[in-house]
């Protein structure tokens, strides 16, 4: 059975404009669809990146000390004892910032003194001996900090000191000591203070302030934080976070008049904030792409319906001289197929061009060709589906129409 492309084609040539318009719609739709899906897929992968933290059961609160009467040591000791004694709290630690948050501290370390050797920019968290357990991050090798190793906070006379021991993520270990075991190795700060790596942890997500690419370049330091402010980080049993947050906030707000609770927030909140733009971009791209496909297919449908009603007489004539219903359906499907294919050919070039331009302009990865294949199939299918109902309607035209009027 032949598809009888010739007559369809020549009649299309006779009535070019409408077909060309539909083809262009399909071309743009393909270019947008392919690139949008590609971008959305990357964003989803980014958002699904494991945090390597117990992020569902963590919350943080920032403390603001604001009077000279504030007794840091007593207050922190008391607060931590309270937090750790609460039923449902797994563990709690003091920290200089909350992971995945909007602020934090970082410094550069080298593998040799005098700023020599390999270097890594590390986002650090100053925590106590319960730090690792509170974060919920897995220790890959080495050990955590002991209570007697936690240093008192830096103050206005020793702000330049460094910690003698460090725990770093795998990403930091590999940056500093590629293809070696970093455990037990020394690293140096810019003025040559040494510190030994005593533990290596999973690539937990720190603060994205220094760029998302290096978000897992994290170190844990055995020190109480204070100089730039301090927070508490609390890990709860699953499902009890929100209730405990409320209890804790109420208690700490009044237990000491020389400090305030600046905020109490779950890590889930920060995770949402961290990926907010990616999620919104995804939502927007999916919405616009879906609308675009809907408009394009409605357009195909509308035009095909219109063509069918405009050609009722001709269809009737064809039926009268022997064309079967299937022939009429096939005619319209082939017509749609030809237009769609033309649009797809142009669309492929457009999609690749846009993809290439985006990769140059915004440093995105190059468009993966699988997406193009998927897009082509999808649009072809959409085109055929949109034409199916009008084609069926055309085949229902009675042969007697031909005889009714001239």
């Amino acid at each position: 059975m032949s598809l009888d492309i010739r007559p369809v084609f020549s009649s299309l040539l006779r009535n070019r404009t409408g077909a060309v318009l539909v083809a262009f719609q399909i071309a743009i739709a393909l270019a947008v669809l392919v690139n949008a899906v590609f971008i959305v897929h990357q964003r989803i992968e980014k958002m699904n990146r494991p945090t390597h933290l117990d992020d569902q059961n963590l919350f943080g609160m920032q403390i603001g000390e604001f009077t000279d009467r504030f007794n840091y040591d007593a207050s922190v000791r008391e607060d931590l004892a309270y937090l750790r004694g609460l039923p449902g709290v797994v563990s709690a630690s003091v920290t200089n910032s909350v992971p995945m948050g909007v602020s934090g501290s970082a410094q550069t370390v080298w593998t040799q003194p005098d700023s020599k050797g390999n270097r890594a920019h590390i986002n650090y968290f100053s925590m106590d001996e319960q730090g690792l357990n509170t974060l919920g991050v897995r220790l890959i090798s080495g050990r955590g900090f002991r209570a007697n190793e936690i240093l008192p906070p830096l103050n206005e006379t020793n702000a330049g000191d460094f910690v003698p021991q460090l725990i770093v993520t795998q990403a930091v270990a590999q940056t500093l000591f590629p293809n070696q075991n970093a455990l037990g190795k020394a690293v140096y700060d810019s003025v040559g203070h040494a510190s030994t790596i005593i533990g290596i942890i999973d690539n937990m997500i720190g603060t994205a302030y220094w760029g998302y690419e290096a978000v897992d370049h994290v170190a844990i330091m055995p020190q109480l934080p204070r100089l730039y402010g301090f927070d508490y980080l609390v890990r709860t049993e699953p499902g009890r976070r929100d209730a405990i947050m409320r209890t804790v906030e109420e208690h700490l707000a009044t237990s000491n008049p020389d400090r305030v609770i600046k905020w109490t927030r779950s890590l889930e909140y920060y995770k949402k904030l961290l990926y907010r733009d990616d999620r919104n971009m995804g939502v927007f791209l999916i919405t616009v792409t879906a609308l675009l496909l809907a408009v394009a297919s409605l357009g195909i449908f509308g035009l095909a319906t219109f063509n069918v009603s405009a050609r009722t007489k001709q269809i009737g004539t064809r039926r009268a001289i022997g064309a079967r219903r299937a022939d009429i359906v096939r005619y319209f499907m082939v017509e749609n197929g030809l237009i769609t294919t033309a649009g797809i050919v142009v669309g492929c070039a457009l999609a690749l061009g846009v993809g290439y331009w985006l990769s140059l302009q915004y440093q995105l990865p190059r468009l993966d060709l699988y997406y193009l294949v998927g897009g082509v199939l999808a649009l072809w299918l959409i085109g055929q589906l949109a034409a199916w109902q009008p084609a069926r309607k055309a085949s229902a035209v009675s042969p007697s129409v031909a005889t009714r009027t001239v």
Binding site: T17, S190, G192, A253, I261, K262, V288, F306, Y362
Partner: protein, 452 residues
């Protein structure tokens, strides 16, 4: 005649209800999506103090590491902030008409009329010119004088919002409140002021709300506290143990702006900075090639990438979408007009000119475009509410300025966006209708008279 054409248009719409709805829907959707992305883009890329664009300059000096630039992603840019000592030196110059050196701190307010809990706030520690230089409006009182630039004068300016929280919105000038447990006298209350983007301090979020309170820069030294509200960056291998050492270090953490009304003053200021740079370089500082800049606000917003790539892409996609919607409309209009060509043929035979047929159909398109534009505007406004909802994160501890987004303002429909939208709508729909109307105007009457 035009009323008659409009009646004809309505008749024609009624003849093909489905197609008319489809065209209206396509135009409205296309316009709505464009309005949404354009509104956000317009707000993001706006210059909130454009009238001073050729007067206000950010001062930067590249004091960074000889081995690597301050920002590896943008190696051509110097640090956005200055060291304390450089800023202090430049503050001594008389060349600028006004000059501001400042940074942000987080602090706690207590006192006020109502017996209330101490309140965490964001504070701008700034020199006295801040308010006049950035055209900050006052509700009550005013700023402080230049003595506050050097001395710890205990005066404070409150934002409108904080004044409402602390004093119920009353004129609080002359009242005292405690700022980090020190006594301050209120000298001024600002009116609503929240520039988008927050050009004067992009480090702490380009779309964050403005600061809550303002105190004189002279407090920096006596407070002797490390800055905890903005960003401070250091590169130099130098021991910084005490606050004094920090103030003398090569760490950058203060922001500086100057007002230079004339080209001559700009050149003199550049000369001063370059001269200072050369002197300091002789003393062993500034190891990188000379890069001292006076950057106007427009360029500053560009350099600091306030508009994100995502927003640019979205505008592009929105216009691609509009293009599809319009192609769709052109196709349908064309088919529709040509199908009714017989009627146009008869009109022509009865004496209507090509021009008249063209105008008649253009009016039909115009009616369609107007209705589509109105629908599109409404849809766009609804869509912006949705965008707003996407960006507002439900913050349980919504107290600090950082987390309060300026997205309210980003999704705000202003007069310019409405005008834009209407022009866009009418322009694009008419463009879509032009060709079909022209085609139908070219119909030869004879063909349609032969049959029937």
């Amino acid at each position: 005649m035009y009323a008659y054409y409009a009646r004809l248009a309505l008749k024609s719409f009624r003849r093909n209800r489905g197609l008319t709805a489809l065209m209206l829907g396509a135009i409205a959707l296309g316009i709505a999506v464009c309005i949404m992305t354009m509104t956000v883009y317009h707000a993001m890329s706006g210059n909130p103090i454009w009238w001073k664009n050729d007067r206000l300059y950010a001062v930067t000096m590249d004091n960074w590491d000889p081995l690597r630039p301050h920002d590896l992603q943008h190696p051509d840019l110097p640090p956005q902030q200055l060291t304390y000592k450089d800023a202090l030196y430049l503050l001594g110059s008389n060349i600028p008409e006004r000059k501001v050196v400042m940074y942000a701190r987080q602090s706690v307010l207590s006192g006020g009329t109502a017996e209330r809990k101490p309140l965490p706030v964001s504070t701008r520690v700034t020199t006295s010119d801040f308010f006049a230089m950035f055209d900050v409006p006052f509700l009550y009182g005013g700023g402080w004088d230049a003595s506050g630039d050097q001395n710890a004068v205990p005066v404070i300016v409150l934002s409108k919002e904080q004044n409402e929280k602390l004093f119920g919105g009353a004129n609080s000038v002359g009242r005292t409140i405690r700022w980090d447990d020190l006594e301050f006298r209120v000298v001024g209350v600002l009116d609503a002021w929240s520039p988008v983007p927050r050009f004067y301090d992009l480090n702490n979020g380009a779309f964050s709300a403005s600061d809550d309170v303002y105190i004189p820069f002279g407090w920096t030294r006596p407070l002797a506290k490390y800055p905890n509200g903005g960003s401070s960056n250091c590169w130099k291998p130098e021991t910084v143990n005490t606050f004094q050492e920090f103030l003398g270090s090569d760490c950058v953490w203060t922001q500086m702006w100057v007002e230079l009304p004339t080209r001559a003053s700009r050149e003199r200021m550049q000369g001063l900075i370059d001269g200072y740079w050369a002197e300091q370089r002789k003393a062993g500082r500034f190891p990188r090639p000379r890069d001292n800049r006076l950057t106007n606000i427009g360029q500053w917003l560009k350099d600091q990438s306030v508009v994100q790539n995502d927003n640019r892409m979205l505008v592009g996609i929105a216009f691609a979408f509009l293009a599809v919607c319009l192609l769709n409309t052109v196709g349908i209009l064309l088919a529709k007009f040509l199908n009714a060509a017989a009627i146009a043929g008869v009109r022509r035979a009865l004496g209507a000119s090509r021009r008249q047929i063209f105008i008649q159909h253009l009016i039909e398109v115009g009616v369609l475009a107007s209705v589509g534009a109105v629908l599109g505007l409404a849809l766009g406004a609804l869509g912006l509410l949705g965008v707003h909802a996407l960006y507002v994160t439900n913050d349980p501890g919504n107290v600090i300025a950082n987390a309060r987004g300026g997205y309210q303002q980003l999704t705000h429909f202003d007069a310019i966006s409405v005008l834009w939208a209407v022009l866009l709508a009418l322009g694009s729909a008419l463009a879509a209708g032009l060709y079909p109307a022209w085609r139908i105007g070219r119909v030869a009457p004879a063909v349609y008279l032969k049959s029937q």
